[in-house]
Symmetry: C2
Subunit: 255 residues, 2 copies
């Protein structure tokens, strides 16, 4: 199939490569930034543009930009009956109504950073279409990209995205905060790596709630107060420490 | 060496097995709960007691209980010159002054849950003694348990413990919260596992700050507001979402 990809960020980049690997043709990459459009287009042997009036013809049009940027693209695009998808976890399918009669969602649940190669075949992909026929088409296309494709309506997709923010984006930020705490004391982040690995590995086998460790779940008030005292000069870390510890206590002591 | 272990929790349990594997003898396990003392003692072929007046003779005494419980043990123990250690990340070595003239800390930096077997040899162990001679003795003993032993004073050990709470305890709690969000929508936690794995794997290679993803680091205000609206009926999750997102924005946009 011929695909036009609108977007050049992390998701668009990883998706473009997966689409090409699945044997499809990316005919064109659009981006507001002609430079970014060109960089991605070059990697997948496609044409590029930064002008929505010059969008090429194709079988599938995939809008893979930040949620903020979808409305502007939609307002300038008329693709009639051509299958048009977005890749957003938190956007209703209906946003694409002005663009085409055949619309849907292809939401890959993974954290894409430019630096990392990811095996797309293992990534869960949530799909939704505005008709049974369209949903089947999207599903078929998605199964070319990944083994793990499932149908999901907007409410559940939104929940999945929110959960992913907690489990991935916030988790990575906690790693960053931990690194900052260490570097202030000239300690190496390497020290935490066995701990981070064990924490992630453990939940392959156990429910995270059942393997919670640390001072909060032990209600070790003395340690909690020492840690808060240590963080006393950093209001942000102190607030986070308090809120997360209280959340652990609330969950495990049912009050 | 003959070791008396005071404590029967997760750290004490994993430590007892590692000590035995290193060729030492656990002569006695003490716990406030005679039942817990017996359970652990049985596993390492030791005697057990719940009476601090009946502590056996040994070469090393290791107090491995929650920080809250250390003072009570210390107040009832007089071991004169016998090497006495605690395993707490957040407790000053000086707490052991009333117990012995030869005191120190052996702080294994790992998250121990009863369910999991852990390769102790890879665990970073921070040691500290109240004299050079004592520190060397502790270091030697620790190197029998792990390849990764290093000296650390109290201020740095406390920072390490705080950082570990962020990187491990809080991270595991975020996994739990994500699981709760999914289960409310009848979605399977399995869906998040590739994402959790990638998030943890990625930092083996990259600095976490450099691979932050998600709506906050993109300043995708629309997605952030949709997520907060979704969490509107749960004040705790909503607060955590707001505070963590703001912390990401603060860190990455330097304001």
């Amino acid at each position: 199939m011929d695909v036009v990809l609108l977007g050049s960020g992390n998701v668009a980049t990883h998706l473009a490569k997966a689409i090409k690997s699945a044997g499809h043709q990316i005919v064109q990459v659009y981006s507001r930034s002609i430079n970014n459009a060109q960089i991605l287009a070059k990697q997948v042997n496609a044409r590029h543009t930064n002008d929505l009036r010059n969008i090429a013809d194709a079988d599938i049009f995939i809008i893979s930009v930040s949620d903020d940027a979808i409305p502007q693209i939609v307002s300038q695009l008329n693709l009639q009956n051509k299958l048009t998808l977005h890749t957003s976890g938190s956007t209703d399918i209906a946003i694409l109504n002005p663009v085409s009669k055949s619309i849907g969602v292809l939401y890959p649940l993974q954290s894409f950073s430019k630096q990392r190669t990811i095996d797309f075949k293992t990534i869960p992909i949530a799909v939704e279409g505005n008709s049974d026929k369209t949903t089947s088409e999207i599903e078929k296309f998605a199964f070319g990209l990944s083994r793990n494709v499932f149908r999901l309506n907007f409410a559940k997709r939104l929940a999945l995205h929110v959960a992913a923010v907690f489990a991935c984006n916030f988790t990575n930020h906690l790693y960053t905060l931990a690194e900052k705490i260490l570097s202030k004391e000239s300690l190496d982040f390497e020290l935490l790596k066995p701990l981070i690995k064990e924490t992630a590995d453990r939940i392959k086998q156990y429910h995270p709630e059942d393997v919670q460790t640390g001072p909060a779940v032990r209600k070790d008030i003395l340690t909690l107060s020492k840690h808060k005292e240590y963080l006393n000069d950093n209001a942000e870390l102190n607030n986070l420490y308090t809120l997360l510890s209280q959340s652990i206590i609330n969950l495990h002591y049912d009050n």
